[in-house]
Amino acid sequence: MSDPTETTGTNGTGGAAEAAGPTKAPGGGTGGRHVRVVLVDDHRMFRTGVQAEIGQTEQTGVEVVGEAADVDQAVTVITATRPEVVLLDVHLPGGGGVEVLRRCAPLMSDAEQPVRFLALSVSDAAEDVIGVIRGGARGYVTKTITGTDLVDSIFRVQEGDAVFSPRLAGFVLDAFASTDAPPVDEDLDRLTQREREVLRLIARGYAYKEIAKQLFISVKTVESHVSAVLRKLQLSNRHELTRWATARRLV
């Protein structure tokens, strides 16, 4: 395991890149996109792998500005580097990804430059997924994801959209479908017909672009639907989710 000094700001250009900031870096074939990312995962092998896959800034537009292996390191590194996106593992020594989310909550709601979290985990158990999403992560992808898809997801999250893996969409559908009782607050607790449709297509493995074509709407609309679902999931009333979790013996 590496010590914090080593992990903070791996490529040293962090400060410079921040100065370059939102002015779109003149990257190669990335259409001028640029995003600063921190990797949080307790397996060094995995961090190295991800770094190798997405870290070529000229090609992908992704710049890994920091790595961390546990909760304390993560909070330190994230506060110090202020990345735009954090790739967060769910299972971490020191309290897990949920703890990182809890301690970074002020950074997430920062108006100037919010830090956004994308959970990247090997686990696709329902309690992990729902846990980090409720903690404020903007998306959830499993580690089987390909490099290009991951880069795509990172940019999506950076732009403020939600990224759902098919499995996550399945969990959400399940959570909302199993509650047939009349909801307390229509807006928050119910998914609209359209949102359901979008989620179903995600669960069936469609990409956002394909969903847009299928439903004759724009990709932006798809994204706003997905974001709405995420918002509902974070705010949906506790009672319902608890009931859902107990029914599955998650708590």
Partner: protein, 442 residues
């Protein structure tokens, strides 16, 4: 009496070499029955053990009661020494009992719960016998007065002891938490009865005048003992529960270790042997991953012993996908929403879905993982199987190729469902299967 295992003499062998036909079964142990008992379940347990009707045993006890109360003593002794078994709930009793020797009657009643005529008769008899006993026994007028307090004490003791039995039973059979007040009430009533009985004896002994001071002294002693021994007792129970917790944890860890050892090491060995065969390595790794996942994330944590045939939609879809994945070496991602039991139509749908998965793996596998999505919503069961292969046009397939037409479309239509094939916008094929569930299921 026990151990009368049938013996078989094998022709051509000396008599001495005769072997028991049945495996020497575990020695039959006597348990008290917790089902349908009146007091301690002794009679029931004995009846089950001996293979006699319960009534007989009860009658014998009642009869023995006449012999200077021997029956009661015997009963109490049994109650004290024989552990409680779960009659008909657990399999504490040897299953070999069923159908053997004399009367299966006793056994059957053991399992049954509702009171039968025999019980009522025996109860009446017991009351009568007790009355006769009380009337006839020559106790002397002085001793007779002690009878009521003695009965009180007996009833209280019985109440409390049964309570203890229930607490023990609760470990095997989950008893609702609502019963807790009832439990406390019963314990309280028992203690009250015993106290009343004992006080009664004191009063009768003529030491009524001293009763107050005696009670005071007793109370003082009790308080003293509690103060002295209390901390030790608390500590002991805490240690005990902690130890139990540790043991459970150790057991669980051992189970995980055993599983990991068994399957993961085995797979790793296979992978080392097949290192140059990429496809095989991938298949092994995937199978292992799936196995470990079900084992780790299954709600009950008992994913090891599965029934032979899947009984629900989620189960069937996952099983089919796993099998196809293993056979064709193409990753299949499964998402299931909702669940319901299988019926005939849905079963056919599962078959069709499997066929679709096979097709997708065979012809569309090189484009990436096959995605399977199943949803149960209300009465409708929907399954979609989608690949990212080159795509395919049903009309361009020669009429003699029956795979899709018969196994998927035909099968669905025969059972009243629908099947649709269509090209996916991004390339690839998607098969959508829809079926209504049968009426009777809830």
């Amino acid at each position: 009496m026990p151990g009368t295992g049938a013996r078989v003499t094998i022709v051509g062998m000396p008599e001495a070499a005769a072997v028991p036909l049945v495996e020497p079964r575990p020695p039959r142990k006597l348990y008290r029955s917790s089902d349908g008992r009146w007091l301690g379940g002794v009679a029931r347990g004995l009846a089950g053990h001996l293979g006699l009707p319960v009534v007989w045993v009860r009658l014998v006890f009642a009869g023995l009661f006449m012999a200077d109360g021997l029956g009661a003593l015997l009963y109490a002794a049994f109650w004290f020494f024989v552990p409680l078994g779960v009659g008909g709930v657990g399999d504490q009793k040897p299953p070999a009992l069923v159908g053997t020797e004399t009367a299966p009657d006793g056994r059957r009643r053991l399992v049954a719960r509702k009171p039968d005529k025999g019980q009522i008769v025996a109860l009446l008899l017991m009351v009568v016998v007790a009355m006769v006993f009380v009337g006839n026994v020559n106790l002397g007028s002085g001793a007779k007065a002690y009878l009521l307090p003695a009965v009180l004490v007996g009833a209280g003791v019985a109440l409390v002891w049964r309570q203890a039995d229930n607490a023990r039973r609760a470990r095997w059979v989950e008893v609702g938490r609502r019963r807790r007040t009832l439990t406390l009430l019963r314990a309280g009533a028992g203690v009250l009865l015993v106290t009343a009985g004992v006080s009664g004896i004191f009063v009768l002994q003529g030491s009524a005048a001293h009763l107050g001071s005696v009670l005071q002294a007793a109370l003082a002693v009790l308080v003293g003992i509690t103060l002295l021994a209390g901390p030790y007792l608390v500590r002991m129970t805490q240690d005990l529960s902690e130890e139990r917790l540790m043991r459970i944890r150790a057991q669980e860890r051992a189970e995980v270790a055993a599983h990991v050892h068994d399957s993961v090491l085995h797979t790793l060995t296979l992978i080392q042997r097949n290192a140059e065969n990429a496809g095989e390595v991938r298949r092994l790794a995937r199978a292992q991953e799936r196995d470990l996942r079900t084992w780790l994330y299954r709600p009950e944590g008992t994913g090891k012993e599965e029934a032979d045939e899947p009984t629900t939609v989620a189960d069937a879809v996952r099983r089919n996908a796993a099998e196809v994945e293993d056979k064709h070496g193409v990753p299949i991602e499964v998402v299931v929403v909702g669940d319901c039991p299988l019926d005939e139509g849905v079963g056919a749908q599962m078959q069709a879905a499997r066929e679709a998965m096979v097709n997708a793996a065979k012809y569309g596998g090189e484009g990436g993982a096959v995605q399977v999505y199943a949803e149960v919503e209300g009465r409708t069961v929907f399954v979609s199987v989608r690949d990212r292969g080159p795509g395919f046009d049903l009309d361009s397939i020669p009429a003699d190729r029956m795979g899709v037409r018969e196994s998927i479309i035909g099968r669905m239509e025969r059972h009243g469902g629908t099947a649709r094939l269509r090209a996916v916008p991004g390339g690839g094929t998607e098969v959508e299967l829809e079926m209504e569930r049968a009426e009777k299921t809830s």
